[in-house]
């Protein structure tokens, strides 16, 4: 069953009751939302996402609900509970939806330490994946949203989830967060893009989310092999540049940007070193989305390199 198989009012009843167990890639999130008016937005963004009806072990229990009366009175009317404990908030219910999305990202960033977790967008074509590691504000969400509308499969706009045993990237297809000007950029780039309600007044300004294309969500169980590491940076009016970067620098860059690289110790190092070794590594500066798409479409599979010295 997918969320879209339910009506909005069925979705609302479930969110207000026991919750919906969303299956997003390898993770199961039990989601409860105690604000009836938000059900339509959850329904829109997660329309193609499967959920599990029978009882199962969940990874995250997330509840968006009003906080206790006293805190509500002076801090705001909404809060997010993780495993029953207030984790985000209290905050203004008017920004509850983007807060919920951030919290769901936070869960994936912090908990599943059986995987190596890198702050990065991941897109794939012909079984080969491009990892786009970048700090917030570099336009990686906008770029991967655009790529996902031009023949590349979106695995995630926020997280590269890497299985250390086989160095495969696991899809975590969730709504793509778009900020401020990016919202209109994507709407203009592809008028059919499923961009949801825009929420003004967050810490990052106005925020909207794009639902990933249905067939990308449907392929959530299909991992991809890393082929390229491309560090993107949007710069207004910049000419497009695409330069190789040394592998050692790429390794330090992804190590620095990963959430649990040091936590995984040797496993983290060996995993990233193997991936960097197998990938071609580049820095991309762009201002024109279509030119950036052109750069990706011109990528060739990485050349087999001589194995590095690891003694």
């Amino acid at each position: 069953m997918k969320v879209g198989d339910l009506s909005v009012s069925e979705t609302r009843d479930r969110l207000m009751g026991q919750g919906i167990r969303l299956r997003i890639g390898p993770m199961v999130t039990q989601l409860q939302v105690r604000f009836p008016n938000l059900a339509q937005h959850v329904h829109f963004l997660y329309k193609d996402t499967p959920f599990i009806d029978e009882p199962c072990i969940v990874d995250f229990e997330v509840k968006l609900a009003p906080p206790p009366a006293l805190r509500r009175w002076f801090q705001g009317g909404a809060a997010i509970y993780l495993d029953g404990i207030m984790n985000f908030g209290p905050f203004d219910p008017a920004i509850a939806m983007p807060m919920l999305e951030w919290c769901l990202n936070g869960c994936v960033f912090n908990r599943p330490n059986q995987y190596l977790i890198l702050h990065s967008a991941v897109i794939e074509r012909d079984g080969r994946a491009a990892i786009l590691p970048a700090p917030p504000g570099t336009g990686k969400s906008t770029l991967c949203a655009a790529m996902s509308l031009r023949g590349w499969r979106l695995l995630s706009d926020e997280v590269a989830m890497i299985r250390p045993s086989d160095k495969q990237l696991l899809p975590v297809p969730r709504p793509v967060g778009l900020k401020e000007g990016s919202i209109d950029v994507i709407k203009r780039f592809e008028p059919t893009a499923a961009v949801g309600h825009a929420w003004p007044g967050t810490r990052k300004g106005t925020v909207a989310h794009m639902r990933p294309p249905a067939d990308h969500v449907a392929r959530a169980d299909e991992p991809a092999t890393p082929a390229w590491i491309i560090c993107p940076r949007y710069e207004a009016d910049a000419a497009t540049t695409f330069e190789p970067i040394p592998k050692a620098d790429a390794l330090l860059y992804v190590a620095h940007d990963a959430f649990n690289y040091s936590l995984l110790g040797t496993t983290g190092f060996e995993t990233f070193a193997d991936i960097v070794d197998a990938c071609d590594c580049y820095a991309l500066v762009y201002s024109d989305l279509n030119e950036a798409v052109g750069v990706f479409n011109a990528l060739t599979p990485p050349r087999a390199t001589a194995h590095p010295d690891r003694s």
Binding site: I57, D83, P112, Q114, L263
Partner: protein
């Protein structure tokens, strides 16, 4: 006393029960175990009882994820110990590791899956100033405490104010004995140093088996740190089961408690390990330890408080009851280690500080 019918306690007593759990029971177990920092430990218990293959893949994933964190904590602790040793090259100091750091360095059972928040070391009081200076020379600094807290530590406690390394951010406590000097109980620090045992491959020592158990008991039941109550009780359970195989351990335990003035915490430790975790304790030892039980209503009250503080499912259902039990135990433990007038002053100051810290204006 009646043991709480608690899912997590039941699994700690009999790990095989996990194989028959429903998804709902797993979700409750994992939630409680996360609250008490015991997920990784459950994974190791499952492994030791050869249960992993009979458990759902999702449960194993949770164990693997938690064990990754615990493994990192162990690496950090080993490295901090390495760095302390490096800093103290040239300071002729007898360094004894305590608690988590000792379990990790000596590879004792409580180290498995344990999260270690800071490193505790004990050095002789006579050279504590030189140790402090050497640590400062190598990048440790005192955590920014207000003057009241500084004075509180230096005057009344059994340790320096906590220190933190500038680059690595790891926190270290430097003690010169195992309980505050102002408290009612005065374990003889010299006796602890004399009996301490070397650690293979490291220039540091750990407490001998009886003293390690007694310190763990004192920390939990005298020192008032019940934030990790159930975790600390499982430490004691692990230690008792592990040392039970050593000749003379049980014979020496109560006499050593008498020698170190730690009979009361030992009584509590054996009582609650035995009652809550089914720790095997010889009847003779339980009987001998009972000599130190508190009189009158104090014991039933303590039973209730400890059971509540250890019982996570109750904490989950009625957080304020749990908080009350822990708060009461906190006052009790401060009562145990400070003269009454001083106690009132300290609690007032702390309460005022807490209020200002959480008031809406101070974000």
């Amino acid at each position: 006393m009646t043991s709480p019918n608690d899912l997590l306690l039941a699994v700690l007593r009999d790990p095989a029960r996990m194989t028959a759990f429903s998804p709902d029971q797993w979700n409750r177990l994992l939630r409680y175990a996360r609250l008490t920092k015991l997920v990784a430990k459950l994974g190791y218990l499952a492994q030791e009882h050869s249960l992993l293959d009979s458990l759902p893949g999702k449960a194993r994933d949770h164990f693997t994820a938690a064990q990754a964190i615990a493994t990192q904590h162990q690496r950090i602790v080993r490295w901090e110990v390495n760095r302390v040793c490096r800093a103290l090259v040239g300071v002729d100091a007898d360094v004894v590791l305590l608690k988590g750091a000792a379990y990790v360095a000596a590879s004792l059972p409580p180290a498995r899956g344990r999260l270690v928040s800071d490193v505790d070391i004990m050095v002789p009081k006579a050279i504590i100033g030189r140790v402090e200076q050497a640590l400062i020379d190598h990048g440790w600094e005192h955590i920014n405490l207000d003057p009241y807290d500084q004075r509180y530590y230096r005057t009344w406690m059994h340790e320096l104010p906590p220190m933190r390394h500038i680059d690595r951010q790891a926190v270290m406590d430097v003690h010169h004995t195992i309980l505050p000097e102002t408290g009612r109980l005065h374990p003889d620090a010299d006796a602890l140093f004399d009996a301490a045992q070397p650690v293979e491959g490291l220039p540091v020592k750990v407490l001998c088996p009886t003293d390690m158990v007694l310190h763990s008991a004192a920390h939990l039941f005298q020192d008032g740190d019940l934030n990790n109550g159930l975790r600390d009780l499982t430490d004691l359970d692990d230690l008792l089961r592990h040392f039970a195989t050593q000749p003379d351990f049980w014979d020496q335990l109560v006499p050593r408690a008498v020698r170190l003035d730690l009979q009361r915490p030992l009584f509590y430790a054996l009582r609650y390990c035995h009652d809550l975790l089914n720790t095997p304790v010889p009847d003779g030892v339980l009987q001998a330890a009972r000599v130190a039980r508190p009189a009158g209503l104090a014991l039933p009250l303590m039973d209730r408080l400890v059971t509540m503080a250890m019982s996570v499912s109750k904490a989950h259902q009625r957080p304020w009851v749990h908080a009350w039990a822990r708060w009461t135990l906190y006052i009790r433990s401060h009562w145990l280690r400070m003269p009454p007038t001083l106690l009132a002053k300290h609690l007032t100051h702390k309460a005022l500080k807490d209020w200002f810290a959480y008031s809406p204006g101070a974000k």
